[in-house]
Amino acid sequence: MKRRLLMILLLALAALLQQVLPAWPLFGGMKPPILAAMVLYYALRRDNRERWIVVFVAAVLQDGLNLGSFGPALLAFPAIGIVANKVRNEVFADGLVSQLVFGAAAGLFTTFSALLIYGITGQRPVQFGESLMRLGGSFWLGMATLPLVSLSINKLEAALPKRKGYGWQ
Protein backbone atom coordinates (compact mmCIF):
# COMPACT_ATOMS: atom_id res chain seq x y z
CA MET A 1 0.00 0.00 0.00
CA LYS A 2 2.81 2.36 0.94
CA ARG A 3 4.57 1.60 -2.31
CA ARG A 4 1.43 2.33 -4.27
CA LEU A 5 1.00 5.63 -2.47
CA LEU A 6 4.62 6.44 -3.18
CA MET A 7 4.06 5.52 -6.81
CA ILE A 8 1.10 7.91 -7.07
CA LEU A 9 3.04 10.63 -5.26
CA LEU A 10 5.91 10.18 -7.69
CA LEU A 11 3.50 10.48 -10.60
CA ALA A 12 2.15 13.76 -9.20
CA LEU A 13 5.70 15.04 -8.75
CA ALA A 14 6.53 13.95 -12.29
CA ALA A 15 3.52 15.89 -13.58
CA LEU A 16 4.69 19.00 -11.71
CA LEU A 17 8.20 18.60 -13.06
CA GLN A 18 6.95 18.08 -16.61
CA GLN A 19 5.00 21.32 -16.35
CA VAL A 20 7.91 23.29 -14.95
CA LEU A 21 10.38 22.17 -17.60
CA PRO A 22 10.52 24.45 -20.62
CA ALA A 23 9.28 23.43 -24.06
CA TRP A 24 12.24 23.45 -26.42
CA PRO A 25 11.56 24.88 -29.88
CA LEU A 26 14.38 22.77 -31.35
CA PHE A 27 12.41 19.68 -30.34
CA GLY A 28 9.22 20.95 -31.97
CA GLY A 29 8.13 22.64 -28.74
CA MET A 30 7.70 19.29 -27.01
CA LYS A 31 8.38 18.62 -23.34
CA PRO A 32 10.27 15.63 -21.94
CA PRO A 33 7.70 12.79 -21.65
CA ILE A 34 8.33 12.07 -17.97
CA LEU A 35 4.88 10.64 -17.28
CA ALA A 36 5.07 8.35 -20.33
CA ALA A 37 8.50 7.21 -19.19
CA MET A 38 7.12 6.42 -15.73
CA VAL A 39 4.28 4.40 -17.24
CA LEU A 40 6.86 2.43 -19.19
CA TYR A 41 9.09 1.99 -16.17
CA TYR A 42 6.33 0.56 -14.00
CA ALA A 43 4.77 -1.51 -16.80
CA LEU A 44 8.10 -3.28 -17.30
CA ARG A 45 8.54 -4.04 -13.60
CA ARG A 46 5.27 -4.21 -11.70
CA ASP A 47 2.26 -6.52 -11.57
CA ASN A 48 -0.90 -6.11 -13.57
CA ARG A 49 -2.86 -4.15 -10.98
CA GLU A 50 -0.11 -1.62 -10.30
CA ARG A 51 0.49 -1.21 -14.02
CA TRP A 52 -3.13 -0.22 -14.57
CA ILE A 53 -3.09 2.14 -11.57
CA VAL A 54 -0.05 3.90 -13.03
CA VAL A 55 -1.52 4.00 -16.53
CA PHE A 56 -4.79 5.46 -15.29
CA VAL A 57 -3.31 8.02 -12.87
CA ALA A 58 -0.65 9.19 -15.35
CA ALA A 59 -3.16 9.50 -18.20
CA VAL A 60 -5.66 11.43 -16.08
CA LEU A 61 -2.92 13.74 -14.83
CA GLN A 62 -1.46 14.40 -18.27
CA ASP A 63 -4.79 14.95 -20.01
CA GLY A 64 -6.40 16.68 -17.04
CA LEU A 65 -3.64 19.26 -16.80
CA ASN A 66 -3.56 19.75 -20.56
CA LEU A 67 -5.88 21.98 -22.56
CA GLY A 68 -8.40 20.38 -24.89
CA SER A 69 -10.38 17.21 -24.39
CA PHE A 70 -9.27 14.05 -22.62
CA GLY A 71 -7.62 11.78 -25.16
CA PRO A 72 -3.97 11.76 -26.15
CA ALA A 73 -2.62 10.21 -22.96
CA LEU A 74 -5.75 8.15 -22.33
CA LEU A 75 -5.13 6.47 -25.65
CA ALA A 76 -1.33 6.29 -25.61
CA PHE A 77 -0.55 5.26 -22.04
CA PRO A 78 -2.70 2.10 -21.92
CA ALA A 79 -1.19 1.05 -25.26
CA ILE A 80 2.32 1.62 -23.92
CA GLY A 81 1.43 -0.34 -20.79
CA ILE A 82 0.00 -3.27 -22.73
CA VAL A 83 2.92 -3.50 -25.18
CA ALA A 84 5.49 -3.20 -22.38
CA ASN A 85 3.74 -5.97 -20.46
CA LYS A 86 3.81 -8.23 -23.54
CA VAL A 87 7.54 -7.89 -24.05
CA ARG A 88 8.72 -7.58 -20.47
CA ASN A 89 9.94 -11.19 -20.31
CA GLU A 90 12.01 -10.81 -23.46
CA VAL A 91 13.90 -7.65 -22.61
CA PHE A 92 16.36 -6.58 -19.97
CA ALA A 93 14.50 -3.62 -18.51
CA ASP A 94 17.56 -2.08 -16.86
CA GLY A 95 19.74 -2.26 -19.97
CA LEU A 96 20.65 1.13 -21.38
CA VAL A 97 19.97 0.12 -24.99
CA SER A 98 16.52 -1.24 -24.08
CA GLN A 99 15.74 1.98 -22.23
CA LEU A 100 16.88 4.16 -25.11
CA VAL A 101 14.78 2.19 -27.60
CA PHE A 102 11.70 1.98 -25.37
CA GLY A 103 11.97 5.64 -24.34
CA ALA A 104 12.16 6.78 -27.93
CA ALA A 105 9.23 4.55 -28.90
CA ALA A 106 7.11 5.80 -25.98
CA GLY A 107 7.81 9.45 -26.80
CA LEU A 108 7.08 8.88 -30.46
CA PHE A 109 3.88 6.97 -29.81
CA THR A 110 2.55 9.52 -27.29
CA THR A 111 3.08 12.33 -29.80
CA PHE A 112 1.65 10.28 -32.65
CA SER A 113 -1.54 9.54 -30.74
CA ALA A 114 -1.86 13.23 -29.83
CA LEU A 115 -1.39 14.14 -33.49
CA LEU A 116 -4.03 11.61 -34.46
CA ILE A 117 -6.59 12.85 -31.95
CA TYR A 118 -5.93 16.54 -32.48
CA GLY A 119 -6.03 16.02 -36.25
CA ILE A 120 -9.30 14.10 -36.20
CA THR A 121 -11.06 16.36 -33.70
CA GLY A 122 -9.60 19.55 -35.18
CA GLN A 123 -8.42 20.86 -31.82
CA ARG A 124 -4.96 21.75 -33.16
CA PRO A 125 -3.78 22.75 -36.62
CA VAL A 126 -1.77 19.81 -37.97
CA GLN A 127 0.96 20.85 -40.41
CA PHE A 128 3.35 18.39 -41.98
CA GLY A 129 6.66 20.13 -41.16
CA GLU A 130 5.66 21.00 -37.62
CA SER A 131 4.32 17.50 -36.99
CA LEU A 132 7.57 16.01 -38.22
CA MET A 133 9.52 18.24 -35.84
CA ARG A 134 7.27 17.27 -32.95
CA LEU A 135 7.66 13.56 -33.73
CA GLY A 136 11.42 13.92 -34.05
CA GLY A 137 11.62 15.99 -30.88
CA SER A 138 9.63 13.53 -28.82
CA PHE A 139 11.76 10.67 -30.19
CA TRP A 140 14.96 12.24 -28.85
CA LEU A 141 13.37 13.53 -25.65
CA GLY A 142 11.85 10.11 -24.92
CA MET A 143 15.22 8.51 -25.53
CA ALA A 144 16.86 10.85 -23.03
CA THR A 145 14.07 10.76 -20.45
CA LEU A 146 13.52 7.04 -19.78
CA PRO A 147 17.09 6.23 -18.64
CA LEU A 148 17.02 9.25 -16.29
CA VAL A 149 13.60 8.33 -14.90
CA SER A 150 14.65 4.68 -14.46
CA LEU A 151 17.85 5.66 -12.70
CA SER A 152 16.01 8.05 -10.35
CA ILE A 153 13.28 5.57 -9.40
CA ASN A 154 15.79 2.72 -9.00
CA LYS A 155 17.84 4.85 -6.62
CA LEU A 156 14.76 5.90 -4.69
CA GLU A 157 13.40 2.37 -4.39
CA ALA A 158 16.80 1.03 -3.37
CA ALA A 159 16.70 3.44 -0.46
CA LEU A 160 13.34 2.06 0.70
CA PRO A 161 12.94 -1.11 2.83
CA LYS A 162 12.44 -4.25 0.70
CA ARG A 163 8.94 -5.60 0.29
CA LYS A 164 8.52 -9.17 1.54
CA GLY A 165 7.82 -11.80 -1.09
CA TYR A 166 8.19 -9.42 -3.98
CA GLY A 167 9.83 -11.13 -6.97
CA TRP A 168 12.94 -10.19 -8.80
CA GLN A 169 13.11 -6.52 -8.16
Binding site: Q19, V60, N66, L67, F70, I120, R124
Partner: protein, 266 residues
Amino acid sequence: MLLVVVFVPIPSLTQKGKGAVRDAMAPAERGASSVWQRFAEAIAAIRGIGGAVGKNRELAHELVRIQADLNRLQDAEADNARLRRAFEFRQANSYSMIPCDVISRDISGWWNSVRIGKGRADGIGENRAVISPDGLVGRTKEVSKLTSEVLLVSDPACRVSARIARLKNGGYGLVRGAGSTLKGYPRARMEFINKDVEIKVGDEVVTSGLSSEGGLFPKGVHIGYVEKVYQDKSGLFQYAEIMPRATVGLLDYVFVVTDLRPEAQR
Protein backbone atom coordinates in the same frame (compact mmCIF):
# COMPACT_ATOMS: atom_id res chain seq x y z
CA MET B 1 -15.41 2.75 -23.95
CA LEU B 2 -11.98 4.40 -24.06
CA LEU B 3 -12.38 5.31 -27.73
CA VAL B 4 -15.78 6.84 -26.97
CA VAL B 5 -14.25 9.00 -24.22
CA VAL B 6 -11.43 10.03 -26.54
CA PHE B 7 -13.27 10.70 -29.77
CA VAL B 8 -16.75 11.67 -28.53
CA PRO B 9 -15.96 14.05 -25.70
CA ILE B 10 -18.86 15.33 -23.62
CA PRO B 11 -17.91 18.95 -22.85
CA SER B 12 -19.60 19.21 -19.46
CA LEU B 13 -18.10 15.91 -18.29
CA THR B 14 -14.68 16.84 -19.66
CA GLN B 15 -14.82 20.20 -17.89
CA LYS B 16 -15.80 18.58 -14.60
CA GLY B 17 -13.07 15.96 -14.90
CA LYS B 18 -10.39 18.46 -15.81
CA GLY B 19 -11.57 20.89 -13.15
CA ALA B 20 -11.28 18.16 -10.51
CA VAL B 21 -7.73 17.25 -11.60
CA ARG B 22 -6.61 20.88 -11.77
CA ASP B 23 -8.19 21.86 -8.46
CA ALA B 24 -6.61 18.82 -6.81
CA MET B 25 -3.20 19.70 -8.22
CA ALA B 26 -3.53 23.47 -7.62
CA PRO B 27 -2.10 23.51 -4.04
CA ALA B 28 0.91 21.48 -5.16
CA GLU B 29 1.38 23.70 -8.20
CA ARG B 30 1.09 26.79 -6.03
CA GLY B 31 3.67 25.34 -3.66
CA ALA B 32 6.02 24.42 -6.49
CA SER B 33 5.53 27.82 -8.08
CA SER B 34 6.21 29.56 -4.76
CA VAL B 35 9.38 27.49 -4.23
CA TRP B 36 10.47 28.32 -7.77
CA GLN B 37 9.74 32.02 -7.24
CA ARG B 38 11.71 32.06 -3.98
CA PHE B 39 14.54 30.35 -5.75
CA ALA B 40 14.43 32.97 -8.52
CA GLU B 41 14.22 35.74 -5.92
CA ALA B 42 17.19 34.30 -4.07
CA ILE B 43 19.16 34.29 -7.30
CA ALA B 44 18.03 37.89 -7.91
CA ALA B 45 19.05 38.83 -4.36
CA ILE B 46 22.47 37.34 -4.95
CA ARG B 47 22.72 39.49 -8.03
CA GLY B 48 21.97 42.53 -5.89
CA ILE B 49 18.49 43.38 -7.06
CA GLY B 50 16.51 41.07 -4.80
CA GLY B 51 15.37 43.79 -2.37
CA ALA B 52 13.27 45.35 -5.07
CA VAL B 53 11.26 42.23 -5.96
CA GLY B 54 8.21 43.03 -3.81
CA LYS B 55 8.25 46.68 -4.75
CA ASN B 56 8.66 45.74 -8.39
CA ARG B 57 5.46 43.70 -8.27
CA GLU B 58 3.47 46.61 -6.80
CA LEU B 59 4.90 48.99 -9.37
CA ALA B 60 4.05 46.59 -12.19
CA HIS B 61 0.43 46.54 -11.04
CA GLU B 62 0.43 50.31 -10.92
CA LEU B 63 2.04 50.45 -14.36
CA VAL B 64 -0.75 48.36 -15.87
CA ARG B 65 -3.35 50.69 -14.37
CA ILE B 66 -1.51 53.74 -15.65
CA GLN B 67 -1.19 52.20 -19.10
CA ALA B 68 -4.92 51.54 -19.09
CA ASP B 69 -5.51 55.20 -18.22
CA LEU B 70 -3.05 56.31 -20.89
CA ASN B 71 -4.82 54.21 -23.53
CA ARG B 72 -8.10 55.76 -22.50
CA LEU B 73 -6.68 59.28 -22.69
CA GLN B 74 -5.12 58.68 -26.11
CA ASP B 75 -8.38 57.37 -27.49
CA ALA B 76 -10.29 60.21 -25.87
CA GLU B 77 -7.97 62.77 -27.40
CA ALA B 78 -8.17 61.25 -30.87
CA ASP B 79 -11.94 61.08 -30.80
CA ASN B 80 -12.41 64.40 -29.08
CA ALA B 81 -13.88 66.28 -32.01
CA ARG B 82 -16.48 63.62 -32.67
CA LEU B 83 -17.30 63.02 -29.04
CA ARG B 84 -17.75 66.74 -28.32
CA ARG B 85 -20.92 66.64 -30.35
CA ALA B 86 -22.18 63.55 -28.67
CA PHE B 87 -25.18 64.27 -26.53
CA GLU B 88 -24.68 61.76 -23.82
CA PHE B 89 -20.99 61.33 -23.67
CA ARG B 90 -19.87 59.16 -20.88
CA GLN B 91 -16.22 59.30 -20.14
CA ALA B 92 -14.54 56.00 -20.73
CA ASN B 93 -12.90 54.61 -17.65
CA SER B 94 -10.16 52.16 -16.95
CA TYR B 95 -11.27 48.59 -16.45
CA SER B 96 -11.22 46.37 -13.38
CA MET B 97 -8.60 43.66 -13.11
CA ILE B 98 -7.67 40.79 -10.81
CA PRO B 99 -3.95 40.18 -10.27
CA CYS B 100 -3.09 36.46 -10.52
CA ASP B 101 0.03 34.39 -10.04
CA VAL B 102 1.06 32.04 -12.80
CA ILE B 103 1.25 28.64 -11.08
CA SER B 104 2.22 26.36 -13.94
CA ARG B 105 2.67 25.94 -17.63
CA ASP B 106 1.45 23.57 -20.32
CA ILE B 107 2.30 19.96 -19.57
CA SER B 108 2.67 18.54 -23.08
CA GLY B 109 4.07 21.29 -25.28
CA TRP B 110 1.05 21.09 -27.59
CA TRP B 111 -0.52 24.32 -26.35
CA ASN B 112 0.92 27.73 -25.64
CA SER B 113 -0.74 28.20 -22.30
CA VAL B 114 -0.18 28.94 -18.64
CA ARG B 115 -2.32 28.20 -15.59
CA ILE B 116 -3.16 30.94 -13.10
CA GLY B 117 -4.04 30.42 -9.46
CA LYS B 118 -7.49 32.00 -9.54
CA GLY B 119 -10.70 30.69 -11.00
CA ARG B 120 -14.46 30.84 -10.89
CA ALA B 121 -14.43 31.31 -7.12
CA ASP B 122 -12.58 34.60 -7.62
CA GLY B 123 -14.97 35.89 -10.28
CA ILE B 124 -13.01 34.86 -13.37
CA GLY B 125 -14.97 33.64 -16.36
CA GLU B 126 -14.02 32.23 -19.75
CA ASN B 127 -12.82 34.43 -22.62
CA ARG B 128 -11.54 37.23 -20.40
CA ALA B 129 -8.54 39.26 -21.53
CA VAL B 130 -5.33 38.56 -19.64
CA ILE B 131 -2.79 41.35 -19.64
CA SER B 132 0.60 42.17 -18.16
CA PRO B 133 2.66 45.36 -17.99
CA ASP B 134 4.01 44.44 -21.44
CA GLY B 135 0.59 44.14 -23.06
CA LEU B 136 -1.89 41.43 -23.99
CA VAL B 137 -0.94 37.97 -22.73
CA GLY B 138 -3.95 36.00 -23.94
CA ARG B 139 -7.42 34.97 -22.92
CA THR B 140 -8.88 32.70 -20.26
CA LYS B 141 -10.08 29.30 -21.38
CA GLU B 142 -11.30 26.37 -19.30
CA VAL B 143 -11.91 27.96 -15.92
CA SER B 144 -12.25 25.69 -12.90
CA LYS B 145 -13.15 26.67 -9.36
CA LEU B 146 -9.59 27.43 -8.25
CA THR B 147 -7.60 27.80 -11.47
CA SER B 148 -7.89 29.14 -15.01
CA GLU B 149 -6.08 28.15 -18.16
CA VAL B 150 -4.78 31.12 -20.13
CA LEU B 151 -4.37 30.58 -23.84
CA LEU B 152 -1.44 32.77 -24.84
CA VAL B 153 -1.78 35.14 -27.75
CA SER B 154 0.90 33.11 -29.58
CA ASP B 155 -1.30 29.99 -29.64
CA PRO B 156 -3.00 29.30 -33.00
CA ALA B 157 -6.33 28.82 -31.21
CA CYS B 158 -6.20 32.33 -29.69
CA ARG B 159 -7.89 34.96 -31.86
CA VAL B 160 -8.26 38.59 -30.87
CA SER B 161 -9.81 41.47 -32.75
CA ALA B 162 -7.14 44.14 -33.23
CA ARG B 163 -6.27 47.33 -35.07
CA ILE B 164 -3.21 49.30 -36.10
CA ALA B 165 -2.86 52.02 -33.44
CA ARG B 166 -1.59 54.66 -35.90
CA LEU B 167 -4.68 54.43 -38.12
CA LYS B 168 -7.78 55.95 -36.63
CA ASN B 169 -10.11 54.73 -39.37
CA GLY B 170 -9.56 51.26 -40.68
CA GLY B 171 -6.58 49.06 -40.04
CA TYR B 172 -8.71 46.47 -38.32
CA GLY B 173 -7.86 42.78 -38.38
CA LEU B 174 -7.75 39.56 -36.46
CA VAL B 175 -4.64 38.59 -34.52
CA ARG B 176 -4.08 34.87 -34.24
CA GLY B 177 -1.15 33.01 -32.74
CA ALA B 178 1.43 31.33 -34.93
CA GLY B 179 3.46 29.35 -32.40
CA SER B 180 7.08 30.26 -31.81
CA THR B 181 10.30 30.59 -33.74
CA LEU B 182 13.21 28.16 -33.44
CA LYS B 183 14.77 30.58 -30.97
CA GLY B 184 11.64 30.38 -28.83
CA TYR B 185 10.19 33.81 -29.57
CA PRO B 186 6.39 33.84 -29.78
CA ARG B 187 4.81 34.73 -33.10
CA ALA B 188 1.39 35.97 -34.15
CA ARG B 189 -0.25 37.09 -37.38
CA MET B 190 -2.67 39.89 -37.92
CA GLU B 191 -5.01 38.71 -40.66
CA PHE B 192 -7.83 40.09 -42.79
CA ILE B 193 -6.50 43.64 -42.93
CA ASN B 194 -8.02 45.73 -45.71
CA LYS B 195 -5.63 45.67 -48.68
CA ASP B 196 -5.99 49.42 -49.21
CA VAL B 197 -4.68 50.29 -45.76
CA GLU B 198 -1.04 51.29 -45.65
CA ILE B 199 0.79 49.36 -42.93
CA LYS B 200 4.39 50.05 -42.04
CA VAL B 201 6.93 47.87 -40.32
CA GLY B 202 7.06 49.04 -36.72
CA ASP B 203 3.37 49.99 -36.49
CA GLU B 204 1.89 49.21 -33.10
CA VAL B 205 -0.94 46.68 -32.96
CA VAL B 206 -3.50 47.09 -30.18
CA THR B 207 -6.79 45.42 -29.27
CA SER B 208 -9.78 46.95 -31.02
CA GLY B 209 -12.17 46.35 -28.14
CA LEU B 210 -14.65 44.63 -30.44
CA SER B 211 -16.25 41.63 -28.81
CA SER B 212 -14.44 38.45 -29.69
CA GLU B 213 -16.16 35.10 -29.02
CA GLY B 214 -18.29 36.82 -26.39
CA GLY B 215 -15.25 37.86 -24.42
CA LEU B 216 -14.28 40.95 -22.47
CA PHE B 217 -11.47 42.69 -24.32
CA PRO B 218 -10.63 46.29 -23.45
CA LYS B 219 -9.73 48.73 -26.18
CA GLY B 220 -6.17 49.83 -26.87
CA VAL B 221 -4.15 47.13 -25.09
CA HIS B 222 -0.75 46.71 -26.70
CA ILE B 223 -0.24 43.41 -28.55
CA GLY B 224 2.98 43.93 -30.50
CA TYR B 225 4.68 45.68 -33.39
CA VAL B 226 4.44 44.86 -37.08
CA GLU B 227 7.56 43.06 -38.26
CA LYS B 228 6.61 42.09 -41.82
CA VAL B 229 3.69 42.80 -44.11
CA TYR B 230 2.41 40.37 -46.76
CA GLN B 231 -0.29 40.41 -49.39
CA ASP B 232 -2.88 37.66 -49.03
CA LYS B 233 -2.92 35.06 -51.86
CA SER B 234 -6.47 36.02 -52.77
CA GLY B 235 -5.40 39.65 -53.15
CA LEU B 236 -8.32 40.80 -51.04
CA PHE B 237 -6.48 41.27 -47.78
CA GLN B 238 -3.04 41.75 -46.39
CA TYR B 239 -1.58 40.29 -43.25
CA ALA B 240 1.22 41.24 -40.91
CA GLU B 241 3.58 39.28 -38.75
CA ILE B 242 3.92 40.52 -35.19
CA MET B 243 5.74 39.47 -32.07
CA PRO B 244 3.50 39.45 -28.98
CA ARG B 245 5.96 41.00 -26.54
CA ALA B 246 4.01 40.16 -23.39
CA THR B 247 4.49 36.42 -23.85
CA VAL B 248 8.25 36.55 -24.31
CA GLY B 249 10.03 34.72 -21.48
CA LEU B 250 8.50 33.26 -18.36
CA LEU B 251 5.48 34.97 -16.86
CA ASP B 252 5.19 35.26 -13.08
CA TYR B 253 1.96 37.14 -12.69
CA VAL B 254 -0.74 38.54 -14.92
CA PHE B 255 -3.98 40.50 -14.63
CA VAL B 256 -7.38 39.24 -15.72
CA VAL B 257 -9.84 41.86 -16.91
CA THR B 258 -13.10 41.12 -15.14
CA ASP B 259 -15.15 44.16 -16.01
CA LEU B 260 -14.73 46.88 -18.60
CA ARG B 261 -16.50 49.31 -16.27
CA PRO B 262 -14.60 50.95 -13.42
CA GLU B 263 -15.09 49.63 -9.92
CA ALA B 264 -17.07 52.74 -8.94
CA GLN B 265 -19.74 52.05 -11.54
CA ARG B 266 -20.23 48.39 -10.76
